[in-house]
């Protein structure tokens, strides 16, 4: 497989109402990288993520995942390779029990029942949700739902983990727990988030989107130290880089 695991070239997307959501977006992500895609509301982050899994069709430009260009023919393989975790876990969990939900993907891959059961056990163990196996998803807390949503994707053994706002709506403890979990994954990781402190901790590289274009692509700390760039893109420094709000020390 190519060492460029995600390659986006001159991607453009225009919605039916004429809104240009993405314009000439290009970047390359390598194996094992952990990359954050940040930007203000409406910058095009979610549209970009939907392209990585082939939900949206580009008006122009090209996307390659591993060795495959994203086409209708390669879509099944690409959807196995790119595991997508949605922002709202309730959209992701639709089966009667956690077990059924986690088994949904492996079954669609055509795996035998015993192998599916083993995978479900393993990934639920991995995300610390083994005890929730027979629970209905709507009885879980926000943090539990998020971990189960990740398990539903991990059970398909994806090479790339794409997550839309992974920490949104979580309490501080659940957020910390989830970040610990994500840090341990060896996958190539792509996150979109407004939780910039999480970005600092988990992603050495950041891509900044602004009005559908890539405004910056580089080391996370460098980007967060560029005050002019942040202001232009309607962003702020992460709280952990802002110093004490009471005495002003540590700036």
């Amino acid at each position: 497989m190519s060492h460029h695991i995600v390659e986006v070239k001159h991607l453009q997307h225009i919605y039916a109402d004429g809104t240009v959501a993405l314009q000439d977006v290009s970047f390359t992500i390598h194996h094992g990288e952990s990359v954050a895609i940040i930007g203000a509301n409406g910058a095009g982050k979610s549209t970009l993520l939907l392209h990585l899994n082939g939900y949206l069709t580009a008006h122009s430009g090209e996307i390659r995942i591993g060795d495959f260009p994203l086409t209708r023919k390669t879509l099944p393989e690409i959807r196995r390779t790119v595991g997508m975790v949605f922002q709202d876990a309730d959209d992701q969990l639709f089966m009667p029990t956690v077990f059924d939900d986690v088994a949904f993907g492996p079954f669609n891959l055509g795996l035998p029942v015993e192998e599916v059961k083993q995978r479900v056990r393993d990934v639920l163990e991995q995300v610390g949700a083994a005890h929730l196996k027979f629970k209905p998803p709507y009885h879980l807390s926000g943090g539990e739902k998020k971990r189960v949503a990740i398990a539903t994707v991990l059970s398909m053994s994806p090479d790339i983990l794409v997550m839309d706002e992974p920490t949104s709506g979580l309490d501080p403890f659940a957020r910390r727990q989830l970040m610990g979990l994500l840090r341990d994954f060896q996958h190539t990781k792509i996150f979109t988030s407004h939780d910039l402190d999480m970005v600092v901790e988990l992603c050495p590289r950041t891509i900044v989107l602004h009005q559908g274009t890539v405004k910056a692509d580089g080391a996370t700390l460098e980007i967060f130290n560029d005050d002019a760039l942040l202001a232009e893109c309607r962003l702020e420094k992460p709280l952990s880089m802002q110093g004490c709000p009471v005495c002003g020390k540590g700036v």
Binding site: L50, P76, R79, R80, M84, D91, F94, P96, N108, V153
Partner: protein, 270 residues
């Protein structure tokens, strides 16, 4: 809007009951679907004035529900909910069909009342049996069974999506209704006028949400086929189950079981 939320959770409970483990749960879904089908056809095949002969048919839902460990109160509550619909279907019968059918002392019962009661009883029996079948099988397995019995896949997948959409629609409906209620300050809000846009929004929201769920399904390799981890085959056990119950239904169809029981009891007493 606790009522809408509650109703959804109550319906979801049916899916959870289906994950249980009992003699009935372990049977191949096809056996349960076929038996229920025979049951429904038999019950529906009686003439419209038949009433007493239908009572012995309660044996099937009662035995299935108890062997499947389904909570009786829950099932009865669900069945009671459909009675008003059945009554609406049969409520004109007593008006149009005034022919005297039976006289009990001074009380004259017309054919219309008998046929109306028969409709309600048949509804209770058939809806109850179908409901219990889903409770011991699961909607997913019922659809898979239908497919394995020859129903076109397009139809079964549509059925599954329709079932799934009920939850999406009611969940979104509960949210919208809650938001409206909280801002109406205990009054009627804008009355009926506010319901037009509310329903419009509801449709768009449920459509968008259904699309997101569909995306999540596609992301996990969904190609129009649902799978189940319960592996079962149609063996001797299933064959006996279908044949045994079918025989009982045929006998009860030919013989009025209630009258037979009545004769037996009066014979013993005299």
């Amino acid at each position: 809007m606790r009522s809408i939320d509650g109703a959804v959770l109550d319906l979801k409970r049916l899916d959870l009951l289906a994950t249980g483990d009992s003699v009935i749960h372990r049977l191949d879904a096809r056996a349960k679907v076929l038996t229920t089908l025979v049951f429904i056809v038999t019950v529906v095949s009686f003439n419209r004035y038949e009433f007493t002969a239908l009572f012995p048919f309660f044996i099937y839902p009662v035995v299935t529900a108890s062997l499947g460990n389904l909570p009786g109160g829950y099932i009865v509550r669900k069945i009671i909910m459909v009675i008003p619909f059945a009554f609406v279907v049969g409520m004109l019968n007593p008006i149009f069909d005034r022919e005297l059918f039976v006289r009990i002392g001074p009380l004259a019962i017309t054919g219309g009342w008998i046929s109306c009661a028969s409709i309600i009883l048949r509804t209770v029996l058939t809806v109850g049996a179908a409901f219990i079948m889903v409770g011991v099988t699961g909607f997913l397995s019922v659809c898979q069974a239908l497919e394995r019995l020859g129903t076109p896949r397009t139809f079964t997948v549509q059925l599954l999506f329709l079932y799934r959409y009920i939850f999406v629609l009611t969940e979104e409906g509960a949210r919208a209704s809650r938001a409206r209620e909280l801002r109406s300050c205990g009054r009627k809000g804008l009355g009926l006028a506010s319901f037009g846009p509310l329903i419009g929004h509801l449709l768009i929201r449920t459509w968008l949400r259904a699309e997101r769920i569909h995306m999540a399904m596609l992301a996990r390799g969904f190609i129009g086929e649902f799978h189940s981890h319960q592996v079962s085959g149609f063996g001797w056990r299933e064959l006996f189950y279908v044949a045994g119950w079918s025989a009982v239904f045929v006998v009860l169809r030919m013989e009025n079981g209630a009258q037979w029981m009545g004769r037996l009891v009066t014979g013993v007493l005299s």
